[in-house]
Amino acid sequence: MNLLEVRNLSKRFGGLLAVADFNLDLPEGALYGLIGPNGAGKTTVFNLITGVYPPTAGSVKLAGRELVGLPAHRITQRGVARTFQNIRLFGGMTVLDNIKVAFNYRTGYHLWGAVLHGPGFNAREQAITEQAYELLRLFRLESRYDQLAKSLPYGEQRRLEIARALATNPRLLLLDEPAAGMNPREVGELVELIRWVREKFQLTVFLIEHQMRLVMNLCERIQVMDFGETIAEGTPAEIVDNRRVIEAYLGEEEGA
């Protein structure tokens, strides 16, 4: 059973066809990668799946239900979470509050509850805080819980962003260049983290990355885009040997 089915997804910005006829079948529990030269349209695909932009054409189905046409927040509520290419934390809020925002649509209390801070409210807030804190612990961020997100070092910001995405309780996690700006050892740690997260949260993962070490180590299958079009699709071993991929993306020698 495929969790995500994307059919003929296209996006046009003015004269530019940023994504052309993108198709994807992502089985439940899979870990797939999306690569391609800069400006190929990878991030745009994420934006289309998550409803940031409406597609020009095509359909996106999550567990058989259409996502196209839903506002972005509804799509998140259906179980799609993502991180951003350039980190987008709530910089002026504490680490713990960053996570707690993700509970906004299932707080279990309404405006009156918030106005009165009654017993039901307190119990729910406490439960949310506990769950959020538990997530921080899993990501080794608990000692930072009351610091402002913007004061964290880069690597921890990346971790926090993933933790925050997981707090929305997703079935599908989209990661946009999670290893950008990390050194090889940190990338190694990230690979472990992603693997572990997938196990622990029973997730399906789809990620964009330029660091081949990560992609090749982690992804079961890889899709390659160039100028909005899919130019190849296959296992990592198939991709590194694909002529078109080498020409457009990897360059002559093997990937760094």
Binding site: P153, G155, N183, R185, V187, M212, Y249
Partner: protein, 236 residues
């Protein structure tokens, strides 16, 4: 000859001390790389050199001249070309205009014209896109523009902050090839990179920073062979 010197420098952001007594030097014509984990203080080092951050202690010298009291724009005029982290392209200016601005302090009209030819030759892609707005370039093209812009300031030393970040493998190779080429034409380079493999391949010497201190120094070959470097920055 020592072109750039960094002597026992301490820099802080408010209460956070980012550099605590860092010293290193760059000889004329060298490529020197700074390695280090996230938050080690690499960008801070570069920003200190180009005068964007004040020193708490220590000294920065360029060709023997003390840079500490100068504002950033004068330091640039004296020969520091800084390609900042995240490129810093002027999004609503065309490629050509981005490059023109970098010649703000220059009086040598003829040489400027020659330099334009040089960078467009070095980066033919930019030549094709002279009239395109900087913000609409792809990531790789923006990186090229940032390097080209630094070249146009005619700096003697070019500070490069993670030029390969977010680029496709193909472009990473191209950028490193270009860095080598620029160096071969006589520009001294101080390179900050996460991609230690590539950096150590083209650099002559390197320093390793950890939490605001230099913990290792040596030639590129020495560093590449050092087990600590291997473990921490080359991924074992």
């Amino acid at each position: 000859m020592k072109l750039l010197e960094f002597l026992d420098v301490e820099v802080a952001y408010g209460a956070i001390v980012a550099l605590q007594g860092v010293s290193f030097q760059v000889e004329e014509g060298e490529i020197v790389t700074l390695l280090g984990a996230n938050g080690a203080g690499k960008s801070t080092t570069l920003r200190t050199i180009s005068g964007l951050l004040p020193l708490r202690r220590g000294e920065v010298r360029l060709g023997g001249v003390d840079l500490r009291k100068l504002p950033a724009h004068e330091i640039v005029a004296r020969g520091i070309a800084h390609v900042p982290e995240g490129r810093g392209i002027f999004a609503n200016l065309t490629v050509q205009e981005n490059l023109e601005l970098a010649t703000w302090t220059r009086k040598d009209k003829a040489q400027v014209a020659a330099d334009f030819r040089y960078v467009y030759e070095l980066f033919p892609r930019l030549g094709e896109r002279r009239r395109q707005l900087g913000g609409t370039l792809s990531g790789g093209e923006q990186q090229m523009l940032a390097v080209a812009r630094a070249l146009m300031t005619r700096g003697r030393v070019m500070l490069l902050d993670e030029p390969s970040m977010g680029l496709s493998p193909l472009l990473v190779k191209e950028i490193f090839r270009t860095i080598g080429e620029i160096n071969a034409r006589g520009t001294t380079i101080l390179l900050v990179e996460q991609n230690a493999h590539m950096a150590l391949k083209i650099a002559h010497r390197g320093y390793v920073l950890e939490t605001g201190r230099v913990v290792l120094a040596g030639t590129a070959a020495e560093l590449a062979a050092d087990p600590r470097v291997k473990e921490a920055y080359l991924g074992g």
